[in-house]
Amino acid sequence: MKKEMKKEKKGSFLDVLSDDYKGKKLGIWIGFIISILNIVMFLPFIKWVGIVNADALYSKIRTSSANIEILRSGYNAFDLLHFVQYSGFGAIGLPAMLLLLFAVATLYFQIANVVKVLRNSKGRKGNLALYSAGEGAMGFEVALTLSMIAYVAFSNARFEMKGFSLSPVVIIALIISFVGLVAVKIPQSKERAFYHDNGLLKEIRKNWVLFLMLVPTFFYFLINNYLPMAGIYYAFTNFNFRDGLWASPFVGFANFEYLVKAQLWMLTRNTVLYNIVFIFLGNALQIIFAIFVSQVAVKWYKKTTQTLMFMPYFVSYVILKVIVYNIFEYQYGVINTFVVALGGNRIDFYNTPSYWPFLITFFAIWKGIGYGMVVYLATIMGIDAELYDAAKVDGANVFQQIRFITLPQLKPTFIILLLYALGGIMKGQFELFYQMVGNNGVLYNVTDILDTYVYRVAMTQPTSIGLGTAAGLYQSVFGFILIVGTNWIVKRRNEEYALF
């Protein structure tokens, strides 16, 4: 089928791609078959990269002779990093890592394409979903193979010799995927025209104003976030100054070892539980007080209470720590002085872990209440006043107004804030915990969170860059899985409330 298509160059034949064959367009079937071929080429024993001039190559890298044996055999699409790891040659590590991620994504798209075609999942707009799947699969394969070619060239350039060779498999995959891409695109454009669904270019032409509005944002996030994201790679290297940031030896998951060695379960539990309490209790109180403030009729009272509740936001933790110590100290602390005056026994706060979850929660919520309240207050102020007027006419009392107007109107804001906070559930408020507890190891079982632990580790190993990055990656992946899952559930119920 493929050969036929290649031989045939007339435009009329391309129309054949839009013909139906067993209930689907021919183009879809072509994409389907190429996806299967691609999956076969991903099989581990099929090598994408070979090693040539092996002895000359190994003279350039620092590795043991035992490792050299492992390195000789060549590589499939997924194990290029093995070479980086065993050779200790870090300069090609980052591209290899990106290729690995890329390859995994590509494999996913191939499988998704095959599965979708088999399940014949048609949507509201006919076959468009199938075309997107095919387009993604083919597009990714083309990009992957091109990157692979570039990678081999780059590696050879870094070693200043021809050490790596490209397997014909890569070229074949590139060619057939490109063909597949064309085969999918042609019927897709027809069907798109039919359903008035636009491709990216058309969409830009139509809504260019909207795209223009996004241009500054695009550059901002590119510079400030996406380009520096390459630093995630440091989590897998052992940095030294001689080789520099991008060429230090690749060490795999060694930097994560100390996390596993720590009481990871305890740290994760503490971090997550504290955050859950902060999120729910904090937001609940913020909503309650926002409603209170909004209902106050006396203007000066309204303004004053609102300002006063904002004040804790400005109290730095460094100073708060001293005040807190003054209050809870054993001998001279305010509370214990008071307790003794009443004839009670002194309370040993700083050696009794059980008090601290409450104290920390209290100060976290106390500090954020005014700041968090503003969002809800603004939302309440944005509610159409007509709604309340109508309710009053109907004789609704204040509780009913809150129950049936205010709270439902606050719901979207609450859900968005909640969803947003969930993504950071593994990231603790370092300052809060560090300043309140400091180095008091007695309290660690209930107060140690991932961030404080990582900080202490970094103190014992000041020159290591990988450790902190590794911990950050753990937090990110954890939050990411959680947020993508939650968002998916929320979106199924109500698309308006979803984050993305």
Partner: protein, 296 residues
């Protein structure tokens, strides 16, 4: 408000006024302690602890803070500059972005939202970020490196999107579109006028972020004339901690270290202006806006 006060309203008022008063007191006490501490003799604070009223009244701490008034004024000036410029530009960019991703007809709104949100979960850490500004953009020592990195945040964009979706019903923009209004018109004539509370919130958060920042000065300033106010003060505090850390390394002539009361005075000096500024923003949180007015 004037219709009639039923018993439920009275109960509600009693509860809410009381709780508000209580909460306000809890919130303000530490601040009062800091304020009174800043006016107390340093030795008294250390030996007798904090109190609600200054015990050994002294303005020594403020004298120390304002010993070099031109430096602190310069820091104030720079902070006003960063805050003003950053908040202004940031607000524009955030609002535009939020508008775009709140439009139903924008096909890639979820993709764009995701791309923005993604940055709040994954980050490369300080080092590549620092290298980006210092080596790639060559911006070390410039003011650009101080105001630019905080222009936007995923949180504020998504918050703004919620405000826009909440205060501008689809029906209104749809009817405007049918009347032939373009995106610019819809944005300026329909969205902006009802976005008061949202703009005030985001603007406030942006401004607070700029006002409280010291980190970017610490990273990128090479000359003390570009320092942010918070950094100017924060660095004084850090000097004492740092010099203690190097305790093993002796014979380091230490400048006078800030005492406890000086630290408190610094806290007051750096937050005071914000507290004065807050009431101006507050009017957006005190009285509501009716969407109906726009409809007509």
């Amino acid at each position: 408000m004037t219709i009639r006060k039923g018993p439920s309203q009275i109960i509600f008022n009693i509860v809410s006024y009381t709780l508000l008063a209580l909460m306000s007191i809890i919130c303000v006490i530490p601040f009062v302690m800091i304020l009174s501490g800043s006016f107390t003799d340093n030795h008294t604070i250390l030996t007798e602890g904090y109190s609600l009223l200054p015990r050994d009244f002294s303005v020594e701490a403020y004298k120390t803070v304002f010993k070099a008034p031109e430096d602190i004024l310069q820091a104030y000036k720079m902070t006003f500059f960063y805050t003003g410029l950053g908040t202004f530009l940031g607000l524009i960019m955030i609002t535009l972005t939020a508008y775009v991703i709140s439009r139903k007809e924008f096909k890639y709104r979820n993709t764009v939202s995701f791309i923005i949100y993604f940055t709040s979960i994954f980050g490369g850490g300080t080092i590549p970020w620092y290298l980006m500004y210092s080596q790639v953009l060559n911006a070390k020592g410039t003011t650009f490196a101080i105001w630019f990195p905080a222009l936007m945040s995923p949180f504020l964009v998504i918050l703004m999107r919620t405000f826009i979706m909440g205060s501008v019903p689809d029906a209104i923009t749809e009817s405007a579109k049918i009347d032939g209004a373009g995106h610019v018109t819809i944005f300026l004539r329909i969205v902006m006028p009802v976005l008061g509370p949202g703009l005030a919130t985001i603007g406030l958060f942006l401004a607070l972020g700029y006002w409280n920042d010291w980190y970017r000065s610490s990273m990128f300033s090479t000359d003390s004339s570009t320092w942010e106010l918070q950094f100017y003060l924060y660095d004084l505090l850090n000097a004492s901690t740092a010099i203690k850390q190097m305790s093993q390394n002796s014979s380091i002539s230490t400048a006078e270290l800030p005492t406890q009361s000086v630290k408190l005075a610094m806290a007051v000096v750096s937050t005071g202006p914000v507290l004065l500024f807050y009431p101006f923003v507050q009017k957006y949180f005190v009285s509501g806006i009716t969407v109906g007015a726009v409809k007509g």
